[in-house]
């Protein structure tokens, strides 16, 4: 039987605020355990949360960027459950009055667009971390992460394959990073994803029983886990069984999902409005103020690059991967007027050198202005494309401008027609038998003469001019 896969994703993104959501502690990752804590985030008796307004602003940003409605009155709710990493015994989150609702993002697979609905985006606080020491009978708790602001983005069950799921995730990821509200680091847990998966016979109107997958900490693992889980559910159904409603953990090493808890053990979170916090009022003026700060989003930028610069979709995709890279490219285009050549250089040498050293585009020793200077030198014929490769490498290593390098290395291309003619005549004179053979029809030897000319000029001869002059002389014109 043909099955249809139905997937909905819950994404948690840590917001890049300096301080935590309800106290003044730092959100910096990697500090000594419990050094970024205070009575408030430790949930000591009598302390009260005070909302960090930046969190609201960042969440409005994400809501607008994903076409959501921003609710004018947002309520924080308590999600009650016991766990040692949750110091208050409840997490401050949002329940029936989230900040943003009813949005969407478009994904594009093989040129086909698909719209994935977003049910809601809400604000909440992160929990701490348990540290287990296998050699000791104790476990430890690190509360540094407790109270770091999170947004949870809940998709509609519109996703129909593991591949679509990863495309959707990448889309959310790039939007968050573009908005500069999340660093998107999956390894450090700043961007996390849980998935609800079910299968149903093709054409069925009802959803099948779903399982919830957790513990997938990379795009690749999300796809692998979903692929595994879809197959597992098919296997269960085809074996005459029923999929159990449960939470399953992805085991990266085994490449499987394992049951963590069943429906019976599911928490009753007993949500209710947090009486310690007043509702957040968001008026239109605030929304418009935030809207004015929104950058051009990756999808729009991609389409504009294709239309405005006439570059292939592939190039546009690579160049808009981050805002900084797109800015680097656009700056280069502005200074050269050569979009495709600029694209080749940025996607080629610039990214290759940076990737080798795992450096970010913002750390590139070659700035758009120098790259543009170099491209312009090629265009003017001062250096050849081949020489440019050498010049670029030197620019990257030394941070110097192209002119200085060309001068130092004496790399200027020979474009003087008389000088080239003279060299060519010398080459022909030195190889009379080859010249004879060429004239009698052995056209293949043309390349040999070009090579000899380049060799005689130390590679500095302008190749196009060499071609022209050589043809003229050999044909006796």
């Amino acid at each position: 039987m043909e099955y249809e896969t139905v997937i909905g994703l819950e994404v948690h993104a840590q917001l890049l605020t300096d301080s935590k959501i309800f106290c003044g502690c730092s959100t910096k990752f990697g500090a000594a355990p419990n050094s970024h804590t205070c009575p408030i985030c430790l949930g000591m008796p009598g302390v009260l949360p005070v909302l960090n307004r930046k969190v609201v602003e960042y969440t409005i940003k994400m809501g607008l960027a994903t076409n959501c409605r921003i609710n004018p009155e947002d309520v924080f709710a308590r999600k009650n459950y016991f766990y040692p990493d949750l110091p208050k015994g409840y997490q401050i989150s949002q329940f029936d009055r989230p900040l943003a609702e009813d949005g969407w993002v478009d994904i594009e697979i093989d040129g086909k667009k698909k719209r994935i609905g977003i049910i809601r985006i809400h604000m909440e606080e992160d929990a701490g971390k348990l540290v287990h020491d296998e050699t000791s009978p104790f476990s430890y708790v690190d509360f540094n992460r407790t109270g770091v602001p999170l947004i949870e983005i809940v998709s509609r069950p519109d996703i129909r394959s593991p591949e679509e799921a990863t495309f959707y995730l990448r889309r959310l990821h790039e939007i968050l990073v573009y908005l500069e509200i999340c660093d998107g680091n999956m390894e450090e847990g700043s961007f996390r994803c849980d998935a609800n998966v079910s299968i149903r016979p093709g054409g069925a109107a009802e959803f099948g029983t779903r399982t919830e997958l957790k513990n997938m900490n990379s795009f690749r693992n999300v796809q692998r886990a979903l692929e595994y889980e879809v197959k597992r559910q098919q296997y269960v159904v085809e074996g005459g069984g029923k999929v159990a409603q449960e939470t399953r953990l992805w085991d990266d090493a085994q490449g499987t999902t394992l049951s963590m808890r069943g429906k019976e053990e599911a928490h009753d979170y007993r949500y209710f409005p947090d009486p310690d916090l007043v509702p957040v009022a968001i008026d239109n003026a605030w929304i418009e103020e935030v809207r004015a700060t929104l950058p051009e989003l990756p999808m729009e930028k991609r389409e504009r690059f294709i239309g405005e610069y006439g570059i292939p979709a592939y190039d546009a995709g690579v160049l808009t991967a981050t805002r900084a890279l797109a800015e680097f490219y656009e700056e280069t285009v502005k200074l050269t007027g050569k979009p495709k050549i600029a694209s080749n250089w940025v996607m080629g040498d610039v990214l290759r050198y940076l990737n080798e050293e795992k450096r970010d585009i913002r750390e590139s020793p070659v700035k758009p202005s120098s790259l543009a200077d170099m491209i312009n030198l090629i265009e003017r014929g001062t250096i050849s494309g081949k020489m440019a490769k050498e010049v670029f490498e030197e620019m990257y290593r030394s941070g110097k401008g192209p002119e200085a390098i060309i001068e130092e290395k004496g790399l200027v291309q020979i474009t003087d027609e008389d000088a080239l003619k003279k060299t060519i005549e010398q080459v022909l004179a030195a190889n009379p038998s080859e010249a004879e053979q060429y004239r009698s029809g052995k056209q293949k030897l043309f390349g040999f003469f070009v090579g000899q000319v380049m060799k005689a000029t130390g590679g500095k001869a302008n190749p196009a001019m060499v071609n022209d002059i050589l043809k003229k002389i050999l044909s006796g014109r």
Binding site: P45, V50, P84, G89, V141
Partner: protein
Amino acid sequence: MAAGLHESTIHELQEKLRRGDVTASEITEAVFSRIEAVDGRIKSFITIMRDSAAACARRADEAIRAGKAGPLTGIPIAVKDIMCTKGVRTTCGSRILENFFPPYDATVVRKLKEGGAVIVGKTNMDEFAMGSSTETSFYGITRNPWDLGRIPGGSSGGSAAAVAAGECIASLGSDTGGSIRQPASLCGVVGMKPTYGRVSRYGLIAFASSLDQIGPFTRDAEDCAILLNAICGYDPLDSTSVPVETPDYRSFVGKDIKGWKFGVPREYLIEGIDPEVAGLMEESIGVLESLGAERVDISLPHTEYCVAVYYVIAPAEASSNLARYDGVKYGYRSPDARDLIEMYRKSRSEGFGAEVKRRIMIGTYALSSGYYDAYYKKASQVRTLIKRDFEEAFRKCDVIVTPTAPTAAFRIGEKTDDPLQMYLSDIFTISANLAGIPGISTPCGYTGKGLPVGLQLLAGHFQEGKLIQAASALERNAKFEKRRPAL
């Protein structure tokens, strides 16, 4: 009979300190002598802060000499053990916080210290403020100074008894459903629950966050105004504190109330009110009328639902607020747990008393999936109706008058086996917490057995000034002779 230093009011002592008739150290010494003499019988305190108080009194004397005295400089004040005090054990009346030493002061405690007050100790209370008699404390019961066989009221029983017995000059309590006003009534002192949001809750250990409010216990209305002045105001650490202007409450003392309308809600004249209590209320209304005020009949139609609404909302919030006491980070951890679940279960079973557990269970149930709509949500909706009742009522009157509690102090153990009877002792006070309005209990006489009775006055949001004004008018024109407990 001339009052001893420990029996004086704040304003009397201010005057004496100003004139140099007495030093802060002498006052503090007098208070500690009194504590030594009577606290063995009353047990107002869980923690007595003799050394730090003496040091504080010396600093107060220096400040007075330097001409830098504030309104509370050198005044011995007791604080309910529900408010965090930096470096001083804060138990909330519970075993679960037996060894909890907060690394921070509650905002009100900070304000007292900054105002020069001498904090004498932490007073006994019902565990987590859940009770009306101070009998649920893990640290033993507090006795009513007027009759040691009776309860002082609760949950702020220690703070009320300490003021009544002269073990401090004034004190702070907290009021979630009547926990300041009811013990004030039963101990014959003035007690005020301010408007929700008037006083910061930062550092007040939460029972029911949407109802809790800190307020003063004092010997008269003027002292109430002085202490309220010191603790009120917006606090950036409490999102529910309200940034509105705070008047000088002392300026309302002694102003006349001619032409005021006093509303008597007909729903409050219920069966179960002790006839003596009802009679004393009538006598007070007579005094108000003699001062040119008018009695008006008003209605608060949703009164009958107040207790039910309260006993859904307060336990629901409490069940969540008390989840943090899990044995992981601070407080009591059962020594013989073998795994995480057992650690939670044993620590909480052994750390909490019966009344607290009862309310955690009620609250957990009320918030549970499938019951939320019928209980918590419905209660919240009725709460809105109760608020509206008061808005309507305050269109017809300036201040509402009711008894504070249906009876005078009852006997120790009389209601401990009957939680419902115990809950009904807050029947007149709960509505003010649900509506968020301020209320005061001021003494209005004595029963035939010589037990004090209080009158409750309620006003609209942020109208504490009116309560001070009315209470001070009643006090100055009272038809009864003021007494002191014979200890």
